[in-house]
């Protein structure tokens, strides 16, 4: 079975042939460890359940058939989520009569009475079943809020709408930021929206904002209490670092008159610089990022020496867009052999540039049934970036694996520097293991 296609083959079919981000899924989705993050985002990173509990002191009531809450067992054992998940399991009669909805206010009351401290908010998580039943969860939440005397908000774990206009991870952000109430805005406060695991504090983004007078750069991750969260309403503007947070930023703009600017997690040095310049122009300031840019360039230059003779396989289960990262690597002169990622038409510009630099780069769609037969070709030493690429290369001898999933999201020049160093470390580790094997 043939797996994947070269970027030039892909482009020859035309832009329209690429599945649009909002189009329907056309194939069955192959279930492998490389697609776990796609099928069940919460299994490894932030899915709706974890995201819904981003607000300090919040708890979640999952109202669903038992199957939807099953893998939460693992999450419930993490110290930060202990005693924060509750379940109202539906049975077949609930499905027919909808009586589970009438139980929700009582369940919320019982949970608040059970907890030693009143929760800051109770998130009601509902799933595909209620999506199909057309449940008006806003109304149910208002009723529960009245009964229990705590804020109650919906969050929709509707896998059915994953490629829709408002996917679950978009909606959950809207639900969370909807809790912010109007406050006096302060010129020295900014929110970073988009990443539930926060942004790496080593990123120059913080330093650059500080240098132009922004003293408080807040993220949801850094909120330790509900009071910290409430302070996010003081921001002069929001920086949206992940497009999934755009609708939430638009809501805040309309509701609290809080403007927003979008930036992206990038690995192309010149594009990162251009992004900061554009931000500077929007704010009417100048960002002095040259030193940090030079550090990133130096790290890449050093990597070129260390990675001579190595090729890259770039996956999507990583803190990067695999197509943008692959393009960044190609532009720096590295050899990219394969990209493991779901292609959508929005990536067309990156794909055309990749094709200009190396039309033979293989594009593999992780979700495609043909990935059952995927075995990496060739014997050249390979750096596999991303958990999915590392999975495919698990039995390939000459592979340096860089999972590149960080506790906090890397951003900007600092992200480039750290990635370069991680790759270098993985290659060095591979070399050490090889020497040990030889000695043995």
């Amino acid at each position: 079975m043939k797996t994947g296609q070269t970027v030039s083959e892909l482009l020859s079919k035309g832009e329209k042939a690429l599945q649009s981000q909002i189009a329907e899924t056309r194939d069955l989705i192959y279930s492998s460890p490389a697609t776990l993050a796609y099928n069940s985002p919460g299994a490894e990173g932030y899915g709706v359940k974890r995201a819904g509990l981003a607000i300090p002191g919040s708890v979640m009531l999952i109202v669903s058939p038992g199957c939807c809450g099953r893998n939460t067992s693992e999450l419930s054992e993490l110290p930060e989520y202990r005693h924060r998940f509750f379940y109202l399991t539906m049975d077949e009669t609930d499905l027919i009569t909808g009586r589970h909805l009438t139980k929700i206010p009582d369940a919320v009351e019982e949970i608040t009475a059970f907890l030693p401290q009143k929760p800051s908010v109770v998130m009601i998580c509902i799933t595909c079943v209620d999506a199909l039943l057309g449940t008006d969860m806003d109304r149910v939440c208002r009723k529960a809020e009245k009964a229990a005397g705590v804020p109650v908000r919906p969050c929709y774990m509707y896998a059915l709408t994953r490629e829709g206009r408002k996917p679950p991870m978009v909606h959950v952000r809207q639900s969370l930021y909807d809790l912010l109430k109007k406050r006096q805005r302060k010129v020295d406060c900014v929110n970073l929206l988009g990443f539930f695991n926060g942004v790496d504090r080593d990123s120059e983004l913080f330093e650059l904002l500080n240098a132009v007078g922004v003293r408080n750069v807040r993220t949801l991750k850094d909120c330790r209490s509900i009071e910290d969260f409430d302070q996010m309403a003081e921001a002069n503007f929001n920086l949206v670092l992940n497009p999934e947070a755009l609708p939430a930023a638009e809501d805040l703009c309309k509701r609290l008159n809080m403007p927003f600017i979008q930036m992206n997690q990038l690995y192309q040095i010149d594009k990162i610089a251009a992004q900061y310049e554009a931000l500077g122009r929007a704010l009417g300031v100048h960002f002095d990022f040259e030193k940090r840019r030079e550090q990133a360039e130096a790290a890449l230059s050093h990597l070129k020496g260390a990675a001579a003779g190595w090729q890259f396989a770039v996956g999507e289960v990583a803190d990067a867009n695999p197509f943008e990262l692959a393009l960044a690597l190609l532009r720096e002169g590295f050899e990219v052999k394969a990209i493991y990622g779901t292609v959508i038409s929005e990536y067309w510009p990156w794909l055309t540039k990749i094709a200009e630099l190396n039309p033979g780069v293989k594009i593999m769609d992780n979700t495609s049934p043909e990935m059952m037969a995927c075995r990496p070709e060739g014997t050249a030493p390979t750096v596999a970036v991303g958990a999915d690429a590392a999975y495919y290369y698990r039995d390939v001898p000459q592979t340096a694996k860089v999972i590149w999933r960080n506790p906090r999201q890397p951003f900007g020049f600092d992200g480039v520097k750290k990635l370069a160093r991680s790759v270098e470390a993985a290659i060095a580790e591979f070399g050490r293991e090889g020497e040990e094997d030889e000695r043995a």
């Binding site: 279930s31 460890p33 796609y38 939807c68 067992s73 109202l88 139980k103 595909c128 059915l160």
Partner: protein, 346 residues
């Protein structure tokens, strides 16, 4: 409140039970869902998934598929897959989405079989029931599909069928040496042996190791006169590992066949009484007077606090519910409850 869980997380659902039987058989297993159920099944409930690849797919249903009832799309996708990978069979596994919209999975399976030429069947699970129901339905679906009278004519084979053996029911680590010691045993759905289902009518006899295998054993008895016994050797081995049970009043919580086997060991070793409690199937034939069926958290809580027992043997995740229990607690892992502690690969 009925249905509200404040301490426990949901147990393994029927769809996971269905996949656990089909997983090693070499078929294409299509979970008719939007993706999340497949993630739960493979990422959490299937311990073999990380190490042993299998053709498990999500149908990738989207809202418009459900609203417009685009069943033909699923049939086309399944046929395309069947032509490409030529699996031994195509199995459609139900989830809440087809249950809500009333998809006729059995008819779709017939269409897939007719169009692709690959045997196809459906296991009508819905995600509301528990894993044992899914296992039970899958055994029956496989037997009805593959175990034919014409294949069962002639002399009986030397093998002993084992039913109800899934990673949920038995400790995989403890079961491996037991299987190694009994090379005539043929555990259905445990290894890549679809042929076993064709030969099921010719087995010497069957051993049922969990209640999920009972219906299949009764079906084989009724149609092919294959006798069966009910015992769980892994539970016997576990029960023997408990050091001192003499004079103890034990409350044990697991699946019914494991409880039956363990009860016998403990009573033989001088336990004063053994009460079996289960959250899962409660077959009349295996029930003893006084045995308990749990559905809600407070039912177990009340049993633990009743003062009727001085030893509880159950999965560790139930322990927080026994805060008013003053006797001795002994862990008895049960994958279908906690989703951990049984992993042959670790």
């Amino acid at each position: 409140m009925k249905g509200l869980r404040k301490v426990l997380t949901p147990f393994a659902p029927d769809q996971s039970g269905a996949v656990s039987v089909l997983y090693p058989l070499g078929g294409a297993v299509i979970v008719v869902d939007a993706g999340g159920c497949t993630g739960n099944i493979c990422g959490f409930d299937e311990p073999r998934w990380q190490h042993q690849a299998a053709a498990v797919f999500s149908a990738g249903l989207r809202d418009m598929d459900a609203i417009l009832g685009r069943d033909q799309l699923l049939v086309d996708k399944a046929c395309e897959l069947a032509q490409t990978i030529r699996p031994q069979f195509v199995a459609l596994i139900g989830t809440p989405v087809p249950a809500v919209i009333g998809t006729d999975l059995k008819s779709l399976a017939r269409l897939i079989e007719k169009k692709s030429g690959v045997p196809a069947f459906a296991v009508v699970t819905n995600g509301f029931q528990l894993y044992d129901k899914g296992v039970e339905k899958t055994y029956l679906a496989l037997l009805r599909k593959y175990c034919k009278v014409e294949d069962s004519e002639g002399a009986a084979c030397e093998k002993v069928g084992v039913l109800g053996m899934t990673p949920f029911d038995v400790d995989m680590q403890k079961m491996q040496p037991i299987l190694a010691a009994h090379d005539t045993w043929c555990p259905f759905g445990w290894q890549p042996d679809l042929e076993a289902f064709c030969q099921a009518g010719k087995m010497q006899h069957n051993i049922v190791v969990s209640p999920s295998g009972l219906k299949a054993a009764r079906w084989l008895k009724q149609h092919f006169d294959v006798d069966y016994t009910v015992e769980d050797p892994a539970a016997v081995s576990f029960a023997e590992s408990l050091s001192d049970v003499r004079g103890r009043r034990i409350l044990a919580v697991h699946q019914q066949v494991a409880l039956k086997s363990a009860r016998q060991v403990w009573l033989d070793r001088g336990a004063a009484s053994v009460t079996a409690g289960t959250w899962f199937m409660n077959d009349k034939a295996l029930r003893q007077p006084g045995d308990l069926q749990f559905k809600e958290e407070d039912e177990f809580e009340a049993a633990a606090a009743s003062g009727d027992y001085d030893m509880i043997v159950a999965d560790a995740v139930l322990r927080p519910l026994a805060k008013n229990f003053e006797g001795e607690w002994s862990d008895w892992p049960y994958f279908a409850i906690s989703g951990k502690q049984i992993d042959v690969y670790e």
